[in-house]
């Protein structure tokens, strides 16, 4: 990617000139980088806190339900795949198919929220909260912050679904759709780090 493309703020202008430019708008990539930075700082803080009390973290991790986490991983990865299929379908002018793929992605996202919600209900019923211990402070903060990102990502997908149905996107005018899609992939990517880090790695 040449520097003029990196410095350009409106991706639409340069999509022809710079075929290697990332899909979607540069502004969304800037936003994604900032988001990833937030999560990265959170993950590092988790790692640092863990080194101070490895035993507590090891015991507390056992209280989480890895099956629920694994199911949610499958759901999010599937939804990302659906979103990718949706972009391909719209690029190939198959709008109805594209809209259906987005609905499927939304359904997977909804499934994630449901599973996570049940996990939370379980923990809250046991009286667990942010002040229970450092591990649970991190578990609840990290997963809830991610949970809110899933909610936001689903709102974005719903807007895209509406846009696809109304024919807002077509080949050469995919920037909006691709921007939303890469945001959703980011939400998925964060979970792919969060799940092993908090649920699995001992």
């Amino acid at each position: 990617m040449d520097t003029s493309a990196t410095m350009t703020l409106n991706q639409d202008d340069t999509v022809e000139a710079a075929p290697l430019a990332p899909p979607g708008d540069l502004a969304v990539w800037f936003f994604i980088l900032a988001e990833l930075l937030v999560f990265a700082v959170f993950f590092i803080a988790y790692a640092v806190a863990r080194t101070h009390d490895v035993a507590l973290f090891a015991v507390m991790q056992q209280t989480l339900d890895p099956d629920a986490g694994a199911l949610n991983t499958v759901l999010l990865v599937s939804s990302s795949w659906c979103v990718a299929r949706a972009v391909l379908a719209v690029d190939g002018a198959r709008l109805r198919t594209g809209a259906r793929w987005l609905l499927a992605a939304l359904a997977c996202g909804g499934g994630f929220l449901l599973v996570k919600g049940l996990e939370y209900a379980d923990k809250f019923a046991e009286g667990i909260g942010l002040s229970t211990n450092t591990f649970y402070m991190f578990y609840l903060s990290l997963t809830f912050f991610h949970f809110m990102h899933v909610v936001l990502g689903m709102l974005v997908l719903a807007v895209l679904w509406h846009g696809v149905r109304r024919g807002h996107y077509r080949r050469g005018r995919l920037s909006g759709l691709e921007s939303g899609a890469v945001y959703w992939h980011m939400v998925d990517l964060v979970w792919l780090v969060l799940f092993p880090l908090v649920y699995v790695l001992h």
Binding site: M7, L9, N10, D25, A27, V28, F30, F31, A34, L37, V38, V41, F42, A45, A49, L130, S131, M137, F138, S141
Partner: protein
């Protein structure tokens, strides 16, 4: 000027600059009191000078924001202001109420002022930055509501741009969060907890939306870059601002008796607060580099770029310096906080208000830009004030580091007052730099009276 009613902005801008002068004079008085403790005692004790210095800052910035909104909203909505008369009436009410409050601070003891103004009806006074008597607070709410009604009605009947919506969101947020100044729980933890909902959620939340909208407006005008591009960046910036700024409130909840998780939440989220400010700097420079026209008002462009850089340094970098809980454990409430406060307020809010005044005042006076001579003078004032503020910040930072070292970090810690004696050299240097700032401000005001060749307004 495209719409006649934009003219109501002019008295607001003039009052803002007038009160700015008052703020700086009181800053110099208390700066001197740091080293000559009984200067002007008992007429103006330190606590009164401080109260006047900070209250004037907030009030003149509010005048600036209101003037900016009255100028921008008709142009954004492409329609005349809903009621110019209401705007002028509110101007006088706000100015007189503000002046009476300051006179009250200076002429009667604070406790007497509290008695005279009905503080026993609803106790809201006596808290830092929210010292205003109850009637002044009620007055602020009335003026704010009338102002919001006026500009909201204007937007409702006209074009709805992203800039106008972000500005409205910021201004409504400002009014809503001010309501927490009426809530004064007797539990000191809860008192402080909600006190920050006014103080922090103003300057690190909704005010940043106002800042973003003002900056975006001026950049559209002086660069001619497509509104679409500028608005997209505005959205990215305000989203980052809200994510980091709202939860970042936690950096005030480390040691006030709130649960421990705030140390993590506050540290993590507020550590990222520099990002939106950095984005703002990149945004301002990028837009100016991609400009599609050469606007004759170079001074306004300079203020816009300056806002980006100084807000990032003052709010972003100097905020980050002491925002992590383990660092803040030592630096809390030291001169490092004062250093951050000075550069953040100047870089973010003072400069953006001076930026919109720089852009709008020539237009309000019937020309696209001031004469070259006047602009050169204004740019001198920019550099004088900005460099003076950089040095004020550096001296206070040095004082703060020494203070933390001697008073809190050492094996044989000194008392507060003994420490103050040790760092008085830095206070003296800060005071002299403050004088340079005042000179810059005088040059700034003088630039309004410089004549010369000007171009007619577009």
């Amino acid at each position: 000027m495209q719409y006649q009613s934009q003219a109501v902005a002019k008295p607001y801008f003039i009052a803002a600059i007038g009160l700015f002068v008052g703020q700086i004079l009181f800053g110099l008085i208390m700066g001197l009191q740091y080293v000559v403790g009984d200067f002007l005692f008992p007429e103006i004790p330190f606590n009164v000078a401080r109260m006047v210095h900070t209250n004037l800052l907030i009030v003149w910035l509010l005048f600036g924001f209101m003037g900016a909104a009255y100028y921008m909203i008709p142009e954004e909505a492409e329609t005349e202001l809903h009621s110019p008369k209401l705007a002028i009436a509110m101007f006088w009410i706000f100015l007189v109420a503000g002046a009476l409050t300051i006179v009250g601070y200076l002429t009667v003891p604070y406790a007497t002022l509290a008695e005279l103004t009905g503080n026993d009806l609803l106790e809201t006074m006596g808290r830092e930055f929210l010292e205003q008597p109850l009637i002044t607070k009620v007055g602020i709410v009335v003026v704010a509501l009338a102002f919001l009604f006026n500009i909201s009605m204007t937007v409702l009947k006209g074009r709805k741009t992203s800039i106008a919506l972000v500005l409205l969101l910021g201004l409504w947020g400002l009014a809503v969060f001010f309501l927490f100044s009426f809530y004064n729980p007797s539990n000191p933890v809860l008192d402080k907890y909600f006190w920050w909902w006014v103080v922090h959620l103003w300057v690190e939340g909704v005010w940043e939306l106002i800042l973003g909208a003002l900056l975006a407006f001026v950049l559209i005008k002086v660069t001619g870059v497509d509104r679409e591009v500028i608005e997209k960046w505005l959205y990215v910036i305000i989203t980052l601002t809200l994510i980091t700024g709202i939860i970042g409130t936690g950096h005030h909840y480390f040691w006030i008796g709130t649960p421990e998780y705030w140390q993590w939440w506050g540290s993590i989220f507020s550590a990222l607060e520099p990002i939106p400010f950095f984005a703002m700097t990149v945004f301002a420079f990028n837009m100016v580099n991609r400009r599609r026209r050469e606007h004759p008002n170079k001074a306004a462009t300079l203020w816009a770029l300056g806002t980006g850089v100084m807000a990032f340094l003052g709010a972003g970098v100097w905020g980050f310096l002491h925002t992590l809980a383990p660092v803040n454990y030592y630096t809390h409430g030291s001169q490092i906080t004062a250093a951050h406060g000075h550069m953040a307020f100047y870089g973010a809010y003072v400069m953006v208000v001076l930026c919109i005044i720089s852009y709008a005042m020539p237009v309000l006076r019937g020309r696209a830009a001031n004469s070259n001579k006047a602009q050169v003078m204004e740019m001198w004032s920019f550099w004088l004030m900005t460099i003076a503020m950089v040095f004020i910040t550096l001296f206070l930072t040095a004082a703060g580091i020494l203070q933390v070292w001697l008073q809190r970090f050492s094996d044989t810690p000194m008392s507060f007052m003994a420490t103050q004696d040790q760092i008085s050299l830095f206070y003296w240097m800060r005071e002299w730099t403050g004088v340079v700032f005042l000179i810059g401000l005088v040059v700034y005001i003088a630039s309004f009276f410089v004549k010369g060749e000007t171009r007619a307004a577009a």
